[in-house]
């Protein structure tokens, strides 16, 4: 079911340069993005989000679709409502085993994604839950923050409560539905929204 995007409140965080640092917990825990779904992960990332194929080849070492390891991002199809997790190279035998097209991929055969597309796949407006791990959080996070991501109000409140200092250092100006707001007031407002959706936007300050 499509989330209620139309009634999402908007929180805008103005930064000197869009820095994903204060938002690490949200970026790794999962956020919703609206996009064209029903097509391959590669098409989704390059065409909808403007990430280059060269970057994907060089940096995108580990991919999970619905919790299963993806070897071929050019074949695995992201359907609406799917959960997609992206990571750069990971340590450990487990990290080497889970990486895409790795020499040890047969060691996790039972959780490998079957990349066959379906005849019913149609490219259409939809949404996915995205998770960014490891250094990809810092590298790709700003792209998604600039575009606007959807998170539960309670998750943003947790972030503010846990890393309020970093949040204050990172954001030079905060607005909620275009009205200036300080972090404490924002925290209180979010508390009243519970699990309702908030659209979080990272905006670059006009001085840059």
């Amino acid at each position: 079911m499509m989330p209620d995007f139309d009634h999402a409140r908007e929180v805008r965080c103005v930064m000197e340069g869009i820095d994903a640092g204060p938002f690490t917990s949200i970026l790794q825990g999962g956020f919703i993005v609206r996009c064209r779904t029903g097509r391959t992960i590669e098409d989704l990332l390059t065409q909808d989000f403007g990430i280059t194929g060269e970057y994907l080849e060089r940096r995108l070492s580990t991919v999970f679709l619905e919790g299963q390891c993806v070897d071929d991002i050019g074949a695995a199809v992201a359907r609406t409502g799917a959960t997609l997790a992206l990571s750069s190279a990971m340590p450990g035998l487990a990290g080497a085993t889970l990486r895409r097209k790795g020499a040890l991929s047969s060691m996790r055969g039972s959780i490998t994604h079957n990349e066959n597309s379906r005849p019913t796949d149609v490219v259409a407006d939809g949404f996915i839950t995205l998770k960014l791990f490891n250094v990809l959080s810092g590298e790709l996070g700003p792209i998604f923050l600039a575009r606007g991501i959807y998170v539960k109000a309670s998750e943003l409140a947790d972030l503010l409560a846990m890393r309020g200092g970093a949040f204050r250092r990172g954001c030079t100006r905060l607005t909620m539905d275009d009205r200036p707001v300080d972090p404490e007031t924002l925290l209180n407002s979010l508390g009243g929204l519970g699990s309702g959706l908030v659209r979080l936007v990272g905006a670059r300050s006009a001085s840059r």
Partner: protein, 578 residues
């Protein structure tokens, strides 16, 4: 590094020293040396805490040189936890210092009568062994503090906490780090109990006046080391992920894969994973003025460790590693990094293996002793160990014992050793290694992912499925070889992807010793070590029937993928067919 120091702790009239040339053991280091000595000199059927067992402490082949990443210390014995041969290794300063003092190994033999506790001091002038009963039942931190006051701030220490003194089977041996903190541990297999059985509380090492070990061909060695370091720095794992987030960067992907053991291996995902992930841990450390990027010994260029401070900026512990965060965190339903860091400190101070303790507490939670998620309850249980209460002694004896005492069926151990942080039902290849390693359930036993570069078992085509058994065998062989160099096993990732880095490692060994080692020789060394270890275990009574995972892994599906471990016993028996 041309001599071996033997100390007979049970000699008449008190401990007796004997120094001898390295002789027949020349060319061996680290795990290669500890396992060779244990296999040759320890009766396999002896009691691990008896006078017949030996504790062998050996730097790696390149320890004490300027080679990067060369500071792992191997500690071997017959394990009181598994009943088989054990090599447990640790970072920290002692490996470098011991090597610079010229020792290829220190071997503690025999067993003293009476209950005196000894400290051993080694410097360029020789070895002194002294009774020091003031150290009794001190934690590692207090012990090291006393040694630093007595011998100077720059010494390196190898010590045991209360758990080792009580000869508990999950006890570790601590090694001091660059700041002189006993925060690096040879954690696995109860090696601390064997040191305790020898009556030795601490070995203090002072390399003042000693110089860095010199290679036979300094120019070639320097050049090879440069290429080696460049390879580590430019690789995505060793140059980026590990320095930025430490090993705990694995939490998120194991959780996403459904292979993150949760609630004592009931589930494969933990709802609180993102609260305790490496990304969160590093951010928290940074916010609090801690250090998210920090080496554990001189010469470490990966720097996967860090300093964990409390909210007021005071030191709590070194940055808890992935295995620790998992064992005390997700495995027990705890999602509070501050509490996990406190438990890490208690483990380090008491001298306990964090994996076995986290799994032991998870089993106690399953038995209803405390509830899942009860972090204060878990801290209280851990403190019981240091106090030596009956409950503490049960917990400190490890997960297998706790399972028996509390009548729990789901006890994730192999050969008595607790399983690390990867569910073998989701990542089955790891399960093969857990089952068949001579060390018991051990994720590092098959860690050397560079099998293609090492040419172990032939080239593996990543696009074709290869048997998990074959891969596990090759990984175990490669790892046994790397463990002998004294190199941190994390170098394996750069070796996997950058052939010139592996060549540089070989060149360093060749330039240092004036030899002509090639990839085949490295693989042969790994095979030889594994065969020795396997043979010891067979003679100790550990046969193929012990090369199995607990039955629940075959019978109980783990969500979210609802998979079981379905590698047959016959396949497992093929791992050691070389």
């Amino acid at each position: 590094m041309d001599k071996i120091l033997r100390i007979n702790m049970g000699a008449q009239g008190g401990p007796k020293l004997e120094e001898a040339p390295v002789g027949e053991f020349a060319g061996l280091g680290g795990r290669g040396l500890t396992s060779t000595i244990v296999a040759r000199e320890v009766p396999p059927t002896c009691h691990p805490l008896s006078q017949e067992n030996k504790l062998v402490i050996a730097p790696g082949l390149l320890s004490g040189t300027t080679a990067a990443m060369s500071g792992r210390l191997s500690i071997g014995c017959k394990s009181p936890l598994t009943g088989g041969i054990k090599e447990s290794n640790s970072g920290g300063q002692p490996s470098q210092v011991l090597a610079r003092l010229g020792y290829a190994a220190v071997i503690l033999e025999g067993k003293p009568e009476g209950d005196d506790l000894y400290k051993i001091f080694v410097n360029k002038d020789g070895v002194t062994i002294t009774v020091d009963n003031s150290l009794k039942m001190l934690g590692n931190y207090a012990t090291v503090e006393k040694m630093q006051k007595e011998f100077g701030e720059t010494v390196a220490c190898i010590s045991i906490g209360q758990a080792g003194e009580m000869k508990l089977a999950a006890s570790s041996i601590a090694c001091t780090d660059m700041e002189g903190r006993p925060a690096r541990h040879a954690g696995r297999g109860g090696v601390g109990a064997v040191m305790g059985s020898k009556g030795v509380k601490v070995i203090v090492l002072d390399d003042t006046g000693m110089s860095v070990r010199q290679p036979k061909d300094p120019d070639k060695f320097r050049e090879a080391n440069k290429i080696f370091v460049d390879g580590l720095r430019k690789h995505g794992v060793t140059g980026e992920a590990l320095p930025a987030y430490g090993t705990n960067v694995l939490t998120n992907i194991l959780n996403e894969a459904g292979g993150y053991p949760t609630y004592n291996f009931r589930e494969g995902r933990f709802a609180g994973a993102s609260k305790i992930s490496g990304e969160t841990e590093a951010a928290l450390e940074f916010d609090r003025g801690g250090v998210p990027t920090h080496g554990c010994h001189r010469g470490c260029v990966i720097r996967c460790s860090g300093i964990y401070n409390d909210k007021d900026g005071h030191y709590v512990s070194k940055q808890p590693e992935y295995e620790t965060v998992w064992a005390h965190g997700g495995n027990c339903g705890i999602d509070d990094l501050d509490k996990i860091a406190q438990m890490d400190f208690i483990d380090d101070d008491t001298g306990l293996d964090t994996i076995d303790m986290g799994v032991a507490i998870g089993i106690a939670m399953e038995a209803g002793v405390i509830k899942y998620g009860d972090s204060d309850g878990a801290i209280s249980l851990l403190k019981e160990v240091g106090k030596g209460t009956p409950m503490g002694r049960i917990l400190g004896s490890g997960a297998a014992v706790v399972g028996k005492v509390f009548g729990v069926e789901r006890v994730p151990v192999v050969k008595g050793q607790a399983m690390p942080a990867y569910d073998p039902r989701a990542v089955k290849g790891l399960g093969v290694t857990y089952a068949t390693s001579p060390m018991g359930a051990d994720h590092t036993a098959g860690y050397a992912t560079a099998t293609n570069i090492l040419k172990v078992g032939g080239y593996v085509d990543p696009l074709k499925a290869q048997g998990q058994v074959d891969l596990s065998r090759n990984l175990q062989i490669a790892t046994a070889a790397i463990d002998s160099t004294g190199m941190c096993v994390f170098i394996a990732f750069a070796l996997l992807d950058l052939p010139e880095t592996f060549e540089a490692l070989l060149d360093m060994l060749n330039a240092f010793y004036g030899i002509n080692l090639n990839a085949d020789n490295v693989a042969d060394l790994g095979k030889t070590i594994l065969k020795l270890e396997r043979d010891f275990n067979n003679r100790a009574g550990l046969t193929k029937e012990q090369d199995r995972l607990p039955a629940f892994f075959k019978l109980q599906q783990v969500p979210p993928h609802n998979v079981t471990f379905d590698i047959t016993d016959e396949e497992l028996d093929q791992v050691f067919n070389f």
